[in-house]
Amino acid sequence: MLEIRDLEVRYGAVPAVRGLTIEVNEGEIVGLIGPNGAGKSTTLLAVMGAARVRRGEIRVRGSSIVGARTEDIARSGVSLVPEGRHIFPHLTVDENLRLGLVGRRDRDGVRAGLDWVHGLFPVVGEFRHRPAGALSGGQQQQLAIARSLLADPELLLLDEPSLGLAPSIVGDLWDTLGEIGQRGVTILLVEQRAQITIELAARTYVMHNGEIRTSLTPADAGDTDRIAAAYFGAKA
C-alpha cells in the first residue's frame, strides 16, 4: 500500500529525515516510534505533500505521490490525523465531520460511513451541534479520527493520537484502532508510547535522528530493555 524509499527531508540545512525506507502492506497496522525530533511527524507530512521531499520516493498503491499537492493526496485515499488534532474549534462537531467528506472519492457510502463513525465514536453524534472546541481532549481526538475516517481512506496516518490523553482513554482508543484495522483500513501509526504501539502493530519501526534504527514485532513487546535501547538510538 505504502512504500517509502530512501526518503530525505530537510528544514533548511537541517536534515529531519535521512534515507528512510519503510513499507506498509495493505490491511496492516504499522507503527513508527521514536523520541521527539526523530522525524516521525515529518515523515507523515512528507507523505501528505506538506513537507518537501529532497530525495527518495513515496509510492501509494505503486504510484509515486512525490510532488503532488496536499489536497490531491488527501483526495486519493490517504488521510492524516495530525498531531494536536487540528480540529476546527469554532465549527460544530457536525461541520468538522462534513469537512472529512471533502476528501472522499465515492459519495455513495456516506450514510454508511456516518453510521460507522457514530458507532465507533458515539460522542461525535451526541455532541454534533456543539462547537468542537468545547469537547474534551479525548473527545477531540475521537472527532479528528472520525473526520479522517469519513474520507473513506485506504491508508490512515495517525500522528501521536495518544498525546495528552489519560491512560484509560488511550486503552479505549487503541481498541478502536484495532477495529478500524480489522475493517481493512491500512494504518501507519506514529507514536511515542512504544510498548502499546508495538503490541498493536504488525511491525513497528523505531526512528532516531531521522533514521530507522530497527523494527520490532509484537513478540518484542515484553522486552523492555531492547525497546528502550532501540528507542534511544541503538542500532539493531
Partner: protein, 295 residues
C-alpha cells in the same frame, strides 16, 4: 440637526463601508493578506461605469460586476498566488505594488481630471420629503448592503464551499490535509471581494460621479481602519468595524460645522486612536478571545 435623519444617513454609509470591509476581511481570513489593492477594484468599477454610461443601466452594472470580478481573480492568479508562502510583509508590499501600478494605469489611460460615471444619478432624487429627507440612494444603499451581507453569511454558513472557507480561515494547513483545495477557496474569496467592490463602485458613483485614479483608495483606507478597529480576526467583527467607521464618518460629518468639515478625517482618526487604546484587540472582539474563527 434631525437625529433620525443623521442616523439613517449614517447607517446607509456604514452599509457601504461594511461591504468594503467584507472584501478585505474575507481575503485576510483565508490568506492572511491585507489587500491594499482592493481600492483599485472599486476604481476599476467606477471607470467601467464611466465608459459604459451610455449603455442601458442594467448592462452597465452587469459589466461593472464582471470587470471587478475578473480583475480580482486576475490579481490573485497573477500577483498573489506565487507569494502565498512568503512572509506577510512581502505580500503586503506586493499589494502596494499592485495598487500603485493600477493607479498608474488609470492615470495613463484616463488622465488626472477624472471621468464622469453618471449612470444612476436619478437615485439622488428625494424619495421621502418632509421632516425627514431620504434620497433613493440611501434606500438602495441599505437594501444592497443588507442583501449582499446576508448573501455572504448564507454562502459561508449554508454551502460546502462556505464551510471550506471557514475551515481554511481557521487553519489552512489542516483544511488542505482534509482535501480542501487552496486555489478554489482563495479564488472564491477574491471573486466575492470583486462583487463587493463592484457594488461599492456603483453606490459611490451615485454620490460622487467623478471617477479619478484614487477613487477607491480613500474608502478602502477608511474601511481598512474600520476592519482593524472592529477586529480583523473575525469576519463579523471586521464587518461591524467597517460599518462603524462609515457610520462615524457620516455622523461626524453632520455634527461638524460646515466650515470645519476639513477636519473630518482628523476627527475620525482621533476617534480610532481612542478606540484602539481602550480596546486594542478590536472594538467588537470578545474579551479574552483566544483562537478564533476568522470567517
Amino acid at each position: 440637526m434631525n437625529v433620525l435623519q443623521t442616523l439613517i444617513d449614517g447607517v446607509a454609509l456604514g452599509a457601504v463601508y461594511a461591504l468594503v470591509a467584507v472584501g478585505l476581511a474575507l481575503i485576510f481570513g483565508v490568506m492572511r493578506l491585507i489587500n491594499f489593492a482592493h481600492g483599485e477594484l472599486i476604481t476599476a468599477g467606477g471607470y467601467t461605469l464611466a465608459l459604459a454610461s451610455a449603455w442601458p443601466k442594467a448592462a452597465a452594472i452587469a459589466l461593472t460586476v464582471v470587470v471587478c470580478v475578473v480583475l480580482a481573480w486576475a490579481m490573485e492568479r497573477i500577483a498573489f498566488r506565487r507569494l502565498r508562502n512568503v512572509a506577510p510583509a512581502t505580500t503586503l508590499v506586493a499589494t502596494f505594488a499592485v495598487a500603485f501600478t493600477l493607479q498608474a494605469v488609470w492615470l495613463i489611460a484616463f488622465g488626472p481630471q477624472g471621468e464622469s460615471a453618471d449612470v444612476l444619478s436619478g437615485l439622488n432624487q428625494t424619495a421621502v420629503s418632509g421632516e425627514l429627507s431620504i434620497r433613493w440612494i440611501t434606500i438602495v444603499m441599505l437594501i444592497t448592503g443588507g442583501l449582499l451581507l446576508a448573501g455572504t453569511i448564507l454562502l459561508l454558513n449554508r454551502t460546502t464551499i462556505g464551510l471550506q472557507m471557514r475551515a481554511a480561515a481557521t487553519d489552512f494547513r489542516a483544511a488542505r490535509l482534509l482535501g480542501v483545495r487552496a486555489d478554489t477557496v482563495i479564488s472564491v474569496a477574491f471573486v466575492i471581494a470583486g462583487v463587493m467592490a463592484a457594488a461599492v463602485a456603483v453606490l459611490l458613483t451615485v454620490q460622487r460621479p467623478l471617477v479619478t485614479p484614487t477613487f477607491g483608495l480613500q474608502v478602502t483606507i477608511l474601511a481598512l481602519v474600520g476592519v482593524v478597529v472592529g477586529g480583523m480576526d473575525r469576519l463579523w467583527t471586521a464587518t461591524l468595524g467597517g460599518f462603524a467607521i462609515g457610520f462615524a464618518t457620516s455622523v461626524l460629518g453632520e455634527a461638524l460645522p460646515s466650515d470645519q468639515r476639513v477636519f473630518l478625517p482628523s476627527a475620525v482618526f482621533l476617534l480610532v486612536i481612542v478606540v484602539l487604546l481602550l480596546r486594542p484587540g478590536g472594538l467588537f472582539a470578545p474579551r479574552g478571545a483566544g483562537g478564533v474563527e476568522r470567517v
